[in-house]
Symmetry: C2
Subunit: 303 residues, 2 copies
Amino acid sequence: MTPPKYLTGDKAGIDEFLSRFDVFLFDCDGVLWSGDYLFPKVAETIDMLRSKGKQLVFVTNNSTKSRADYKKKFDKMGITASEEEVFGSSYSAAVYVARILKLPAPKNKVFVLGETGIEQELKSEGVPYVGGTDPAFRRDIEPEDFTNLANGSALDPDVGIVLIGLDFHVNYLKMATAHQYLQRGALFLATNTDSTLPMAQSLFPGAGSAGAGVSKAVGKDPLSLGKPSQAMMDAIEGRFHFDRSRTCMVGDRLNTDIQFGIDGKLGGTLAVLTGVNKKEDFLAEGATTVPMAYMDQLGDLMG
Amino acid sequence: MTPPKYLTGDKAGIDEFLSRFDVFLFDCDGVLWSGDYLFPKVAETIDMLRSKGKQLVFVTNNSTKSRADYKKKFDKMGITASEEEVFGSSYSAAVYVARILKLPAPKNKVFVLGETGIEQELKSEGVPYVGGTDPAFRRDIEPEDFTNLANGSALDPDVGIVLIGLDFHVNYLKMATAHQYLQRGALFLATNTDSTLPMAQSLFPGAGSAGAGVSKAVGKDPLSLGKPSQAMMDAIEGRFHFDRSRTCMVGDRLNTDIQFGIDGKLGGTLAVLTGVNKKEDFLAEGATTVPMAYMDQLGDLMG
């Protein structure tokens, strides 16, 4: 395997690298910012790439926010971006349900275990849903719920899909409801299955952990529509029509971002060291996911 | 492997089977009852076994109830049983923590993700704990919780063990708190890891599912003290001093109950079809866990 090229401080190397690509796919958390902290020179780097005519797409697995929510975050951070350039795992899942699965109405309703980001994106694609942030599900399970779930009277007969994302309000009632739909044959999808979420300079349970209970109960894993799933790559390509050989994925996480680019046969992958993985993770003997190049931080592209 | 003998309706077969054993270990959920539904002729069957001088032990993985709680349930169901005959996974876990692990105080505190059954049994063994049914943990996670968990100010420095059981009040705050203790090196135990719980003649998420999110986030599985763990068999034997060759395990679940009996080298195992597994599961070519005998339901022992 070719060892990755270290680009920080290598002006000629950076110029040559940038010249190979017309399109850059960016992960957000851990690349542009960490929580509310913007990494140095990120806004300038984005502007520089735009000035060179590069097409930019922001590809995030965070399902709690919609594209509209992300646009607000970009504005707050002072980074130039349009809503159309954002491609989140919630949107990816909504597109998959609406345009790929295309279950015949009315049996195309989705039971959501997740936050508002998923709801907004399903709505934008015209997909009906229940669950999600509905206060009716934000309560303890009661004895009669077991009966009503088991006999189906508490279930919506039109639900044909269970969609799981990161849910800060996960509870037993929602898990049990999702489990009942799945036992009745509903399709099982996830916006993503990241085990952890980097927050407050520590790790917290991610979407994959919030949904792990339902997976374990039903004994199968969901089809994930987030990175590194190629369903997400196909959906991005369907919208932006780019040349994969002239496209580079930029990210901090090897098993989602970099793997996503490699599996998608993109022309290149670029790792930054401001997030989850350290350079030892891909420089080590026997590393399985190795980027084409890496830098200390995204702003180093400014030379 | 000897195919299991089908006993329903086979009066001579039942008599011969019963004569082989002095002790019967019974699973409860899915064998005696499903939630509040008592299976037919269960009380009579228990009385019949007692009248024949059999010793009975009720061995349950359900950690939500203590032995005292179980006694109440038996009374309500009209089944003759004493508290001393009940052996639950909460009790098994409490005994393991108090008598086997014996961490030096004060660093022996347990963070409980579970219900009152675990708390009562820890208390009975003199083990300090936090979490559990404490209302302080029965709420949504707030932004400041991420900070206070990450910097440790919301954590109890004496917690050395995370113990997970079935928690009908599981939420993101509890999962994140358990995850933080585990990232700091706490031991990881579970009362049991059953994926499902038979209730209301259907299946609901079990202890293993309630705890699966924490397992996934931290990237490791807990040590389970419930069936089929032989730590539980050893604890039962320590208390009742039975002859394993004259003992039969009765259960509905192959991978917990029947496996528990096989691994414990008991004289026999008897599967009933009123719970999780169907006969196809053990009659199929290549089935790995096969009971000695099976019946449609426990009451069929009445002939």
